[in-house]
């Protein structure tokens, strides 16, 4: 079976053609870098996304946050619920972990707030 994908690893947006047999990716075409191949394989087995959002700070302001690595795509909404339920204690700096171990990733701050 062949599956067509648009690579989201970088802004080039390569159009990938993945050949799948017995749930195994056996060939990736159209990619222009190694990362594209990795993406294609993941996308066909366990698609992952980085989630970016904002979290509420204890003074009522917002700080931007992200998962520090991609999480399984089907967990995006659950991840959002976790982000929406936290209150971030100030001060906070870029890279500070806000919630640990969220679907194999950490929620980290991407802004400084004091």
């Amino acid at each position: 079976m062949e599956r067509k994908l648009t690579c989201i690893v970088c802004p080039l947006g390569c159009e990938l053609v993945v050949t799948i047999e017995d749930n195994n990716v056996i060939k990736v075409c159209g990619n222009t870098c190694k990362r594209g191949e990795v993406y294609a394989k993941n996308e066909c087995t366990c698609p992952k996304r980085t989630v970016t959002s904002t979290a509420m700070c204890d003074n009522g302001s917002l700080v931007s946050v992200k998962t520090d690595s991609p999480i399984p795509k089907e967990k995006i909404y659950e991840c959002m619920q976790i982000i929406n339920s936290v209150t971030v204690k100030l001060p906070v700096a870029v890279g500070d972990i806000i919630v640990k171990d969220v679907f194999g990733s950490n929620i980290v701050a991407t802004q400084n707030r004091s």
């Binding site: 904002t54 979290a55 509420m56 917002l62 929406n84 339920s85």
Partner: protein, 479 residues
């Protein structure tokens, strides 16, 4: 108890309120919207007509000529921009020339000064960007431009400074006769008054019917406009009218007092008095007409398009009368209503006094309203003094028009207070530039929330249900 209630805070209600505030009277203005100047006053051609257009002997003609004479002094007192730029009625063929000759004669009979016909060569010299097909024009040196909502806001602000009470969101539902005069009710408020002045614009026939006067009808006539960037403000310096035909006065091209270029209006009678939508056809017609009038117009510089509804009375003239004791109509005030407004106010006061209202002058009446442009037009030294006293004047909020936080706060604090985003826009021009509030809208919403003490999510564009945001994120409930 009020001596007088004015229904409608448009230019007629506003100018009348100001004129009446000179006297020892207890006055209220009842406005159904969240702000003043929300009807036809908000969206019209912004012209002070010279007065050659209206049929001689009509109220329109008399009050137009008188009103445009009074207008410069009124604007001066209220600190409102007024520009005597002159107007031209341009003709393209012999038939147009005939009509122009007629207008000249009529204008002279109406008492308009300085009217004359200019031929192509002189015309192209006066307005180099006019179409090459133009033949001649009627030149009216007394024609002028003014910003109608700026004038109205200033007039009502000045009236309020002199004691007039403004009640917003007061949508008149019934008017009952009482021993002393009338009781006017809205859904959840009421006022008792001796005299009523009906300045309700396109709804003035409905207000009149509430006291049993069904002698006239008012219907809505849609007028669509396109406003171009300030870069285009010098395409013409005069207000350019087409020669009127049976189909109406046609599309005009005019600079505004704020240096934009205004194209419009279309003219379509409609049934729905609430329908202020623009149409594809209307926009197309404006563009086509403007392209006929001008040798070149850059429509890519459009910053907004909008629609106003003119209140067209069934009699063909302004309907200013007293159908009932202590009740005055000022209805069917279509063009040249803005031009005539100072004279209409005088005329209404004459009717009131004929109705037995005693007019004694206030000792402490102050005709002056400090200009909202005071900071904008100040020298750098003066500005720095103001900024030192009030640092908010050092912070530019609207980058397109260069409007400071200080000016926005002033618009919220002074009479009549700006209570929503559009209110700030009409008072300060913030959000009126080329980005149309894209950058400054959120900041102005913040200032409104802070100054008015309302939650941020309750800030509206123009009152009612026109909320800008519907909920807080992060666990906030969607309303």
């Amino acid at each position: 108890m009020y001596d007088i209630a004015i229904i409608g805070a448009g230019v007629i209600g506003g100018m009348t309120a100001r004129e009446l505030s000179k006297y020892n009277l207890n006055i209220c203005i009842l406005e159904k919207e969240n702000d003043v100047a929300m009807g036809a006053t908000k969206a019209n051609s912004a012209i002070v007509h010279a007065g050659f257009d209206a049929k001689e002997g009509s109220l329109k003609a008399k009050l137009n000529v008188r009103g445009s004479l009074l207008m410069p002094a009124v604007c001066e007192e209220l600190g409102v921009k007024y520009k005597n730029n002159g107007s031209l009625v341009i003709g393209f063929n012999d038939q147009d020339r005939e009509t122009i000759n007629e207008l000249l004669k009529r204008g002279k009979r109406n008492g308009v000064e300085g009217l004359r016909i200019v031929e192509k060569q002189e015309l192209k010299h006066m307005e180099p960007n006019l179409s090459d097909n133009v033949l001649c024009a009627l030149y009216a040196p007394t024609g002028a431009i003014v910003c109608p909502y700026e004038l109205t806001i200033a007039a009502i602000g000045n009236a309020m400074d002199n004691g007039v009470n403004l009640k917003r969101n007061f949508d008149v539902k019934s008017i009952e006769t009482t021993a002393i005069g009338y009781k006017i009710k809205s859904k959840n408020d009421s006022v008792e008054v001796r005299f009523v002045i009906n300045c309700a614009g396109i709804y003035s026939d409905e207000i009149a019917k509430l006291v049993g006067d069904d002698s006239f009808e008012v219907h809505a006539r849609r007028g669509e406009y396109i406003l171009l960037d300030k870069e285009c403000g010098d395409v013409v310096s005069h207000t350019i009218f087409r020669t009127p035909t049976k189909m109406g006065k046609g599309i005009l091209v005019s600079p505004t007092v704020d240096q934009n270029l205004l194209l419009g209006p279309t003219s379509v009678d409609i049934d729905d008095k609430d329908d202020k939508s623009t149409t594809q056809d209307g926009m197309g017609q404006i563009i086509e007409n403007a392209q006929e009038n001008l040798s070149f117009v850059s429509l890519s510089k459009t910053i907004t398009s909008f629609c106003g509804l003119r209140a067209v009375g069934s009699t063909g003239d302004f309907i200013i009368n007293s159908p009932k004791k202590q009740f005055i109509n000022a209805a069917g005030i279509e063009s040249p209503g803005l031009s005539a407004s100072p004279a209409i106010a005088e005329y209404i006061i004459k009717l009131l006094s004929e109705q037995g209202l005693t007019l004694t002058k206030k000792q402490n009446y102050n005709p002056i309203r400090e200009s909202v442009h005071k900071f904008f037009e100040a020298s750098i030294d003066q500005k720095n003094k103001i900024i030192k006293d009030n640092p908010a004047y050092g912070r530019i909020v609207c980058r397109c028009e260069g409007i400071t936080e200080g000016e926005i706060i002033d618009a919220i604090r002074r009479n009549p207070s700006a209570c929503d985003l559009d209110g700030v826009k009409r008072r300060t021009r913030a959000q009126m530039g080329r980005c149309q509030g894209g950058f400054c809208g959120p900041y102005i919403a913040e200032i409104l929330s802070r100054e008015l003490g309302v939650p941020f999510e309750n800030v509206t564009k123009f009152g009612g249900k026109s909320k800008v945001n519907i909920a807080k994120t992060k666990g906030g409930k969607i309303l």
